[in-house]
Amino acid sequence: MKSNTFKFTAIFIIVVLAILWLLPVYAMLTTSLKNQEEVAKQEYIKLPKVPQIQNYIKAFKILKTGLKNSIIISIPATIICVFFGSLAGFYLTMFEFKLSRIVFFWIVVATFLPYQIVLIPITQYLSWLHLLDSYIGLILIYVILNVPMGTLITATFFMKVPSDFQEAASLDGCKSFTFYRRILIPLSLPGLVSSAILVFIQIYNEFLLALALTRGPRVKPVMPVLAELKGTQIAQWHIQMAGAVITSIIPLIIFIILSEYFVSGLMAGYGKE
């Protein structure tokens, strides 16, 4: 009996908190679909009378170049990070190498370092290379900053592959790259998906570098554009909220469809649990 009451209490607390956690996003969605008069009434919990799709059209017009730029930058950067990361992860888990530990240590440190501290050298390096305000420059920087995380997460997943597999394969004369391509990658596909999701969301959501390394709207990713939208549409809450929804769609869809991978990636990247 006692445990049943507790279960009921537990669910009750969880549901109340969950409602509180959902409330901001619920209000964001309803407000994004209202017209100005409805917003001015400040009845934020009420649903809009007629959903105002034109808010989204207006916000999308402002954000679309940014969205395109973000996709052009995030996808290749993610693929490169996971590819190089998985190569290094393979090496660190499957080869005996004295310096492995040192390399691993510096990769962990690099994963968690606040990247803000290298902002100034980044701008210097890119201006030497004449890559400021370019797709290549941003992709390059995002690769540099996220490869450590890609390595850490893929290595954690590779450790779950039994070492017998690799010994048996090498006895059969299987070359290391064949093993990597034919056995390790297919076996660890969920791990690769997890690290790709985390790296992608990290890059797509990034703001400071996207702001500091671009000038005009030509290559500027979407997050600085959204921040500008907030500045130019002061008190136009419905437009701001529509913009916030539009920029969140991609990471939220990824999260909703692949949340299991997202969670296991988090645990691998941070917990090795």
Binding site: I14, N205, L226, M241, E273
Partner: protein
């Protein structure tokens, strides 16, 4: 293992080069912190510690340092504690009901810019959601400035981050709780121990690595805060919500004091190094075992 080392260099080299570039940037920072570089042209004229001394004499700098420490202390404890309590509650309910967990996790997928835009509106004194709700239940909200209130602004911002990161500590603690030996919990149950006792005296001491992880990661997050400040208050009211990365950005890109910006980076590096290096040593130990 059977593979030859030399073959392996092919796999490791790209990452070693990339990480090498990253560390070269840190060295660049440290060197630049001792130069009197101002403006666009590089001037590698060494001025010793004068950038640091100048920083230490600025009141603004100390306000920033204080704010970083407020973040550190006010953000970590509630986020990890509630995350732990939630993880415990989730452990006690049916599997099918765990779908509710997603409702705490989705903010993790949002950008700080989205969170900031959303919460800046929630906190808006004249037309924000929070004051609108308070007004509708008959509370006089003229005193509640939220992020416009110089004293409260930083805590409002920390609450937005708490909203976003609760799911993170929930995930880490759920993993940690799943890993413990449940015999003691059963035994305590039979002894008639209450849930509070089980939660804090029996399970909590056994999820130490979960606590270490959560608090470390949250601590690192507080060192990185920039986006929220930029989009919610731009450091205001006055400089009440400025933090070191924001200060670094301002001094480098608005005032063009490259040397002092680099010196600020070095200070952030030292503060976060104190968190990251012990953690990485611990991670390394786990990795080897």
């Amino acid at each position: 293992m059977k593979y030859k080392k030399i073959e392996g260099l092919f796999y490791l080299t790209p990452v070693v080069i990339i990480v090498g570039v990253l560390y070269s940037m840190i060295i660049w920072d440290i060197v630049a912190a001792f130069t009197g570089w101002e403006g666009l042209k590089a001037t590698w004229k060494f001025v010793g510690f004068s950038n640091f001394l100048k920083l230490f004499q600025m009141r603004r700098f100390w306000v920033n340092v204080k704010n970083n420490f407020i973040w550190l202390f006010v953000f970590i404890v509630p986020t990890s504690l509630l995350g732990y309590v939630l993880a415990y509650l989730f452990m006690n309910i049916k599997k099918s009901e765990r779908i509710l967990r997603q409702l705490f996790l989705y903010p993790m997928a949002l950008s700080f810019i989205v969170t900031g835009t959303l919460w800046a509106w929630m906190y808006d004194p004249s037309s924000g959601l929070i004051n609108a709700i308070l007004k509708s239940i008959g509370i006089n909200t003229s005193k509640f400035g939220w992020i416009a209130n110089p004293k409260g602004a930083i805590y409002c911002m920390i609450f937005a981050a708490f909203w976003q990161y609760l799911g993170f500590s929930l995930v880490i603690y759920s993993g940690a709780i799943r890993g413990i030996n449940f015999d003691m919990v059963e035994a305590a149950n039979i002894d008639g121990a209450g849930h509070l006792r089980i939660m804090f005296q029996i399970i909590f001491p056994n999820v130490g690595h979960g606590t270490l992880l959560t608090t470390t990661m949250l601590a690192i997050t507080t060192m990185k805060v920039f986006d929220l400040v930029w989009v919610m208050t731009h450091g205001g009211p006055g400089i009440k919500t400025e933090v070191l990365p924001f200060f670094m950005y301002r001094i480098t890109f608005s005032q063009r004091h490259i040397g002092m910006g680099a010196a600020t980076s070095v200070i952030i590096l030292i503060l976060s190094g104190g968190i990251i290096i012990p953690y990485s040593l611990w991670a390394l130990k786990k990795w080897i075992s």
